[in-house]
Symmetry: C2
Subunit: 352 residues, 2 copies
């Protein structure tokens, strides 16, 4: 039988409590679909800083290297905001993990489900039309990792992209679109940036490999506007690292349901880091009211993309869907709900 | 009596028709408030490309240099999208104008007016809380104007900011906040960019000169989210060139009324370029249905910021407000309206 080793990095705030539910769900589907799972916890983020002084301790990194995937919770909180940027929980853990494992591809689905359209902060005349977008974000290049520096009087950052970097993320976007509504909207600022001109040209080239997919280009400023005016026009959004950072959070806001949104960060050989789109929510941590669904759906993405366990992934997604339909949700989804983190987790387990 | 020379660059699409109404309004207030105005038209954008091959002909630039302000319409359209980036109407006219006249400060107000909350694509539970933000965008630095280049295989852009550049735009934001709700939200990506760390430190320094103004910092990704979730939390947004480009358009989308939003781009000595936030809208050009209000309000900003004619500026703003209240609006504001561009312009003139 197959066996998978998972590094479980629960992190801070609500991370540990939502991770506990995801672990229960994973153990159930492993039984049902007959694969072995070793889930090994390790410190990350603020919890790791408190214990070791580092947001990504060497032991944690070593565990990740021996694992088949990383299931990540969330990191950060008011306690650590005073630290230098590269020592901070989020940046100090996520950026080195992305770079070490060459996780160049970030997938962030965003939905407005008709039954939950009211969660969206958009007007019903817009949200009733629905939204079903997949944001494909380049994650290991661009201005995040280019040469940077500063003196007393000024500072600089460099955005650099190569044809190879653009091509590989573009292929992911087109391949994803082929399984969806066959449309890619590539985001750039080609009226200003040389990297965007190269981005646009390269994406045009890759598009030829996918003749059944429609390609359009959109400036980032216009995209920020169009997502609010008519999000239903989009299928797959293809973005560089910075524009993807901005638009994926804008999409999450439009969906209105951060607690339901998973994300996957992948490299070219099946390894990935899976985490909820939301943050560590320190204000509600420890209260047992955090929504575990984004973490559970992140685990489902891990089964799909890193382990190829499509049936198990779908079983989780269907169980989540079932609980949503039964209104078994935490109070971020329905303020009148009395279900807590554990109750929602248990309901998903029971459905499975 | 005072006399002002204005370079009138109407441009493409709806530019000429909305500009015609702004000119009528300007001539009326010049009479009323007893100042002289010379309004000299010149070619810009696609119209200039067609006539001269250049989006910003030397004659036009020379006129601008002899003028006290530039009243700009809008440029661009499908006819010119195939041109090389720096030959395109928008970029090829706006970027050199900004650089030539050191227009480092872009002001973009964004409103949800209670009476027009339904224009906003946000849910009434959000839009009913209103929005009254001023986006202060640095306009002559950052990744727009840094060193850039490309080879066959890669391309790069450089974002560079100096303490002096950040300080002068920060002072504008704080001074504006003093006259408003006394809060500045400074936007950056200080967890990733060196320029953002310098931005944040410099803004902290400038804040000390304005002890009555509250300063908060927000990451660009979070800001893109928060603007949708609760736009009423913001007063003045202080942004670099790229982040301001994105957020000011996001704000315009949230306001839902592009046709009502003016903008001002200023240098340190009272010279400015004034233009509507919306584009050239080629789809409705020539039909007499475009909303002239953003252009008229841009003219009011010119009177205020470049000429110090505060009374005349307010008179225009009040006349616009009056027409809005009387529902004398084009159909972008009220689809059932039968008022066209000229009728709305005439009503504003009549109110004056
Ligand atoms: C924490 C930060 C460096 C990170 C990013 O900007 O990529 C975060 O915002 C994200 O999107 O995962
Ligand atoms: C046309 C383009 C270069 C310009 C910009 O990005 O600044 C436009 O989007 C704007 O905001 O005025």
């Amino acid at each position: 039988t197959k066996h998978y080793n998972v590094a479980v990095l629960a992190g801070d705030g609500i991370g540990p409590e939502v991770m506990a539910e995801a672990i229960k769900v994973l153990n159930v589907v492993a039984d049902q679909f007959q694969f072995g799972l070793t889930l090994t916890p390790a410190l990350v983020g603020g919890a790791a800083i408190d214990a070791t002084g580092e947001p990504l301790p060497a032991d944690t990194l070593a565990l990740c290297k021996q694992s088949d995937a990383i299931l990540f919770g969330s990191v950060g909180g008011p306690k650590w905001t005073g630290l230098a940027p590269d020592k901070q929980p989020e940046r100090g853990s996520l950026l080195p993990l992305r770079k070490t494992f060459d996780l160049f591809c970030n997938l962030r689905p965003g939905h407005i489900y008709p039954a939950f359209a009211d969660l969206s902060p958009l007007h019903p005349r817009v949200s009733s039309l629905g939204m079903d977008v997949l944001c494909v974000r380049e994650l290991t290049g661009g201005i995040y990792f280019g040469e940077k520096g500063r003196s007393d009087n000024d500072a600089f950052d460099t955005q650099r992209y190569s044809v190879a970097e653009i091509s590989r993320i573009a292929r992911v976007a087109f391949a994803a679109a082929q399984k969806r509504s066959k449309k890619v909207t590539s985001i750039d600022k080609a009226n200003v940036l040389q990297t965007s001109i190269l981005w646009r040209e390269t994406v045009e080239q890759i598009a030829k490999e996918f003749p059944d997919v429609t390609l359009e280009h959109m400036y980032i400023d216009n995209a920020a506007m169009q997502l609010i005016r008519s999000p239903q026009q989009f299928d797959v959004l293809l973005c560089d690292n910075l524009f993807g950072d901005i638009l994926s959070d804008e999409i999450a806001a439009i969906a209105g349901s951060l607690g339901l949104l998973p994300s996957a960060s992948l490299n070219g050989s099946g390894f990935g880091l899976y985490e909820p789109a939301g943050g560590s929510a320190p204000d509600i941590a420890g209260k047992g009211i955090a929504n575990p669904i984004a973490q559970i759906l992140s685990a489902a993405l891990m089964l799909r993309y890193s382990f190829g366990e499509e049936d198990a992934a779908q079983a989780i997604e269907q169980a989540v869907q079932h609980c949503l339909e039964q209104h078994i949700v935490t109070r971020d989804i329905n303020p009148k709900s009395t279900y807590g983190t554990a109750a929602v987790g248990a309901a998903i387990v029971a459905t499975l």
